[in-house]
């Protein structure tokens, strides 16, 4: 199988988020960077599928030169090759991102077609839930979103997603595009050996045109703070009797 995974470099935010003065971005001075939890699972899924069916996996990102760090991390986990669409423009909206990714995927697929293209269900920063589906339309590929179980058959795939009442099962022909949700697998951590090997794996650098934003960000704002008045019941095991009183008052026992 020839598999492609798309990931996005984002700051690894803590409890407190500081905004830049112009409110256009997050202050990242003291932050590390990562990819979204869903994308970690997409990467793991690609590695597991190659382990099972043979073939190779490529990871693709559109981002700053530093996004090579996230590509190398994916290579260290077991992906074979990386592609970086390098840009110094910070905000690409979903439509712009999808257009740029689709163009690169099309020219890569001309060299060797992809059997499966994996996306995260949503990026951690934009939470747009749409880049994968837009790329599927550009490339005219069948697509299912929010997948938490995936089975590859002979020329087709079965993909399931979780709903309140259980599971919805979809069938789709391959080649296909799937957007993945956390829970589909348990991502591995890179091993020391994997990290060493990743240094020698190829990363291609390309560029792309930004078509112009159609969802125009004005500014980022903090949501209104909703602090509660907390009733402190005590410290350590001495609090047990008051805790049980609370259980009684709430009628949970």
């Amino acid at each position: 199988m020839n598999i492609l995974v798309c990931v996005k470099r984002v700051p690894d935010i803590g409890a407190r988020i500081d905004l830049t003065e112009d409110r256009q971005a997050i202050t990242t001075k003291n932050l590390g960077f990562c990819i979204s939890p869903h994308e970690e699972c997409a990467v793991e899924e690609a590695i597991q599928l190659v382990e099972k069916h043979g073939g190779q996996a490529t990871v693709l990102t559109l981002g700053p030169a530093d996004a090579e760090e996230q590509l190398r991390d994916c290579l260290a986990r077991g992906i074979d090759r990386g592609i970086l669409i390098e840009t110094d423009q910070p905000e690409w909206d979903s439509r712009e991102t999808a257009t740029a990714l689709a163009e690169v995927i099309r020219s890569e697929a001309d060299k060797e077609p992809f059997d499966l293209i994996l996306f995260g269900n949503e990026s951690a920063d934009s939470t747009g839930c749409q880049v994968g589906i837009r790329v599927a339309h550009h490339l005219n590929l069948p697509c299912v979103a929010s997948v938490k179980k995936l089975q590859i058959g002979d020329g087709d795939a079965t993909a399931s997603r979780e709903v309140d009442t259980g599971w919805e099962v979809f069938s789709l022909p391959m080649p296909a595009l799937i957007t993945v949700k956390e829970g589909i697998n348990l991502p591995r951590y890179p091993s020391l050996r994997g990290t060493m090997k990743a240094k020698k794996k190829p990363v291609d650098r390309l560029s792309a045109d930004k078509i112009g934003a159609s969802l125009k960000m004005q500014q980022l704002v903090h949501p209104p703070e909703q602090k509660k008045e907390v009733d402190m019941l005590g410290e350590g095991s001495a609090a047990a009797s008051r805790i049980v009183e609370v259980f009684k008052a709430l009628e949970v026992i």
Binding site: G128, P142, W167, G183, D231, A239, A240, V246
Partner: protein, 324 residues
């Protein structure tokens, strides 16, 4: 006109759908537009139309076609697109569920329009200034949505579902889209009901959650014992899932399950925003943490400072002493 795409499960509107209708109806009232519900492919429209009437919706379009019998994202999106052409709708909204986001993304892609997911507010002046939740609800973005028809999804739980001030008897208009078999290339082939019986994370009245502070998979036994005494279920944070201590199905939060017990007891969990969004629906929250500065205390109703490995056994002992 503002069109709301109704999501339903066996002829009942989903909770997120009711929230979306509440949001859309109130917005339309302020902007002077008409809010119209769009029901696609339902086998029995009557109960849904009745429900929309109670929510004050005066007009409903029902779309039916051979190829809409089972949910198929492209067929759904294609249907909405044809309804927009016919009605000249200014805005289309759907609930911010997996299905709602999926359908709207297909619609946006095929129409080459922008789409704003997870909206929390829309300006009634011209429907183009929106505020949406980003970063898993940690931040909000104010943005301008271009395009003739505005496509949005409504963030879960930003409004409470509320019936209309007056109940309506909705006018029903049926619509038959033109669809091909290409539109159902990807479709729902079956549903598998949740097999787990009894108390689950979703329906439990008490949830005992454990995070990094629990320390090991074995140490969850004390959480399980407490949950059992209280007739509840055990949940966990993403750190516990990532460490392989608990299955992902136990995870509470943004990328896990959203819970709504009467009482949530969070042990050794710091209170990261992505965890908090998963327990917003809890009636009361009790936090047990050894760090008095833990962010979770600021979001809790009851707090206990201490080592969970001491506090939980003491609670269990006290419960047993009282004959629970």
């Amino acid at each position: 006109m503002i069109l709301g795409v109704i999501e339903y499960e066996q002829s009942t509107m989903t909770e997120l759908s009711l929230q979306m209708v509440t949001f859309g109806r109130d917005l339309a009232e302020k902007s002077g537009d008409e809010f119209v519900g769009l029901i696609i492919g339902a086998s029995d429209n009557a109960p849904l139309i009745g429900e929309l009437g109670r929510y004050g919706v005066a007009k409903v379009i029902t779309a039916a076609h051979e190829n809409l019998k089972d949910y198929a994202p492209v067929a759904w999106a294609n249907t909405i697109s044809q309804v927009i052409d016919q009605t000249q709708a200014k805005m289309v909204m759907a609930p911010g569920s997996d299905q709602g986001n999926e359908v709207m993304a297909h619609l946006a892609a095929r129409s080459d329009l922008p789409m704003a997911t997870n909206c929390a507010a829309v300006s009634a002046d011209d429907l183009s200034r929106i505020t949406r939740l980003r970063w898993g609800s940690s931040l909000m973005e104010e943005a301008i949505l271009t395009g003739d028809c505005k496509l949005i999804t409504i963030a879960p739980f930003v409004v409470e579902a509320a019936e209309g001030a007056s109940h309506a008897e909705p006018a029903e208009e049926s619509f038959e889209p033109t669809l091909s078999d290409q539109d159902i290339q990807v479709r729902l082939i079956r549903k598998e009901p949740d097999e787990t019986e009894g108390i689950t994370l979703k329906n439990a009245s008490v949830v005992v959650g454990g995070g990094r502070g629990v320390g090991s998979p074995e140490a969850y036994s004390v959480l399980e014992e407490l949950a059992k005494l209280l007739g509840g279920a055990v949940g966990c944070s993403r750190v516990a899932t990532n460490n392989g201590w608990r299955p992902h199905s136990d995870q509470v939060g943004l990328t896990g399950t959203r819970i709504s017990p009467e009482l949530y007891i969070a042990c050794g969990i710091s209170g990261a925003i992505q965890h908090l969004v998963g327990c917003k629906g809890a009636g009361k929250i009790m936090v047990i943490n050894k760090d008095p500065e833990a962010a979770f205390f600021g979001k809790a109703d009851y707090g206990v400072i201490g080592d969970l490995h001491e506090v939980l056994p003491a609670i269990i002992e006290e419960l047993k002493a009282q004959g629970v």
